[in-house]
Subunit: 319 residues, 2 copies
């Protein structure tokens, strides 16, 4: 329950009154947490504020063009803002010391735990960047190329390039303003949506070679044995993309990805559409999650784990 | 050379003065030609006009939701409009009789041959739908869900879901208006960008299994033997998607797809980035096309064709 909610206007007022502002991102940073923090950083700098961005992990090279100023102790923070961070757990170990001292959280997750002193959250928005854009407009700072590149990256990556369901007319209007301000559309679109690493391609090949259909094509299963993951050098972000794939095949209601994490331990990712509950399927093997995306960890062999999850899928499809 | 150019306003005036309007699409119809024709059809119907859409090919089932009224001789056409058709050759055999009698062409291809009596063309736009939207606004018809679904489909599919380089602030503003008018964002995004047929998935698997890199990873080659295409039952649209794939791999400047069309005949698709000219590579084997996408047909075996095109690629990469 969030009873410390504030409006965009109040968030902007608080930021105007502050200085030496530290902007916290979530761990395993993505385009939205970095782009949102960066957009706010450049806007605050335009107002003469001292501020910088801080993250538990090293910022991946593909975000270099955002030109974020990373916090390395160059000032003593007086005001701490978390951006796109729904829960203090997501700050990561290195930033956990800040958990009790976040002055303002700007977020778009309906699950935000309300950990900050004040929370500006709109759970209907597809990206935190869309909310940060409102804050930046309220701050009265004109959009420039730096702000635009950051916010466009957040908007584009968290909406899956304007295809996810929370995308609205307002999202497109925000995008239009950012392009008018000079955001590098081509560069950003190419970097995040028009290129794949050789590693990703190799992993997709292995995944497709194991693809099997069950229950009249209503369930598709992909297997990722440890040997393949090691040979390819797969990263967590590569596996996320693969897990989403089987469910997107025409006619498939339940997509299953079974990934071997050690000799006898397997992580099962369950993705569903409106015809089945991922959460119920995963719960059958002691896991859980959301209605359309859930997971569980199961001991056994690839074969026994597959049989176990298929029994849960069968039950779910018969409901 | 187009010396019969007219403005959006003039196009709208001509349409207002007309009735019994036949809207022609290009053969192998895509979301933009169908969506643009459909958007115009619904707008003209709102003005009380008799009109219908006509295409050389059967309209694929996935466009059923556009609710196009297909021309089957229900009136005698008095005014003929071609939408998204750059050249009369693209009308297809069945519609070739109309080639000399097109009153108005609305298009976004810089290569438009100017075959129509009047041409309203903006080669800078990413989709014909964006231009048709301007015409619809000029007609004074309010956007409704039917018009919006058609134009949003055109806009979304021809921009690759707002990722291709011709996407601008104006494109997003058009998208915002169409969503405000009730376009089924979720449905359209899911249908065109979040699902793949089992056939496509099967073809991708075969393609990835043949993937090879050359010249320090600057060239990627995919082979599609006739046996695979037959086994999968591949459609032209499936192959288009595959041809685009090798070039999108990180570090690849030239993507090659070799497709066997008969025992001794092979179609080679060449895709490049700014580091090489697809047109020059294809021209080396008697083909041609655009700077970034070109093709040629070559006699021989899969192996000899591959060697021949690789020699052209090597020359291009050394330039």
């Amino acid at each position: 329950m969030i009873n410390n909610s504030i409006t965009v206007k109040q968030a902007a007022q608080a930021l105007k009154a502050a200085d030496n502002i530290l902007l916290l991102c979530h761990k395993n940073p993505d385009g939205d947490t970095l782009g949102s923090a960066g957009g706010l950083m450049f806007a605050l700098k335009k107002l003469g504020k001292t501020c910088a961005v801080c993250c538990n992990d090293i910022i991946p090279q593909k975000y270099d063009f955002l030109n974020l100023e990373v916090f390395e102790g160059q000032f003593i923070p007086d005001f701490i803002v978390a951006v796109d961070v729904a829960d203090t757990k997501l700050l990561g170990d290195k930033l956990s010391g800040y958990a009790e001292n976040v002055d303002l959280c700007i977020d778009h997750h309906p699950s935000n735990t309300g950990y900050a002193k004040t929370v500006c959250c709109d759970g209907a928005l597809p990206a935190a960047a869309q909310l940060v854009m409102q804050v930046v407009e309220e701050l009265g700072t004109e959009l420039d190329i730096d702000i635009a590149n950051c916010l466009y990256t957040g908007l584009m990556t968290d909406t899956g390039c304007f295809k996810y369901s929370a995308t609205t007319a307002e999202t497109h209007i925000a995008a239009a303003k950012l392009l008018s301000a000079g955001a590098y559309h081509d560069f950003i679109a190419n970097r995040f949506f028009m290129s794949k690493s050789r590693r990703t391609i190799e992993l997709e090949k292995h995944a497709l070679n194991t693809l099997e259909y069950y229950f009249d094509g209503r369930c598709a299963v992909i297997e990722l044995p440890a040997s393949v993951l090691e040979a390819v050098g797969a990263q967590p972000s590569d596996i996320d993309g693969i897990s989403a794939m089987p469910r997107t095949i025409e006619g498939v209601d339940v997509g299953i990805t079974i990934r071997q994490v050690s000799e006898n331990m397997f992580k099962v990712s369950v993705r569903t559409n409106e015809n089945a509950s991922a959460n119920e399927i995963a719960a059958g093997l002691g896991g859980g999650g959301h209605t359309k995306a859930a997971g569980c960890e199961v001991m056994g062999s690839m074969e026994s784990v597959k049989n176990a999850i298929l029994r849960e899928v069968e039950t779910a499809l018969c409901r």
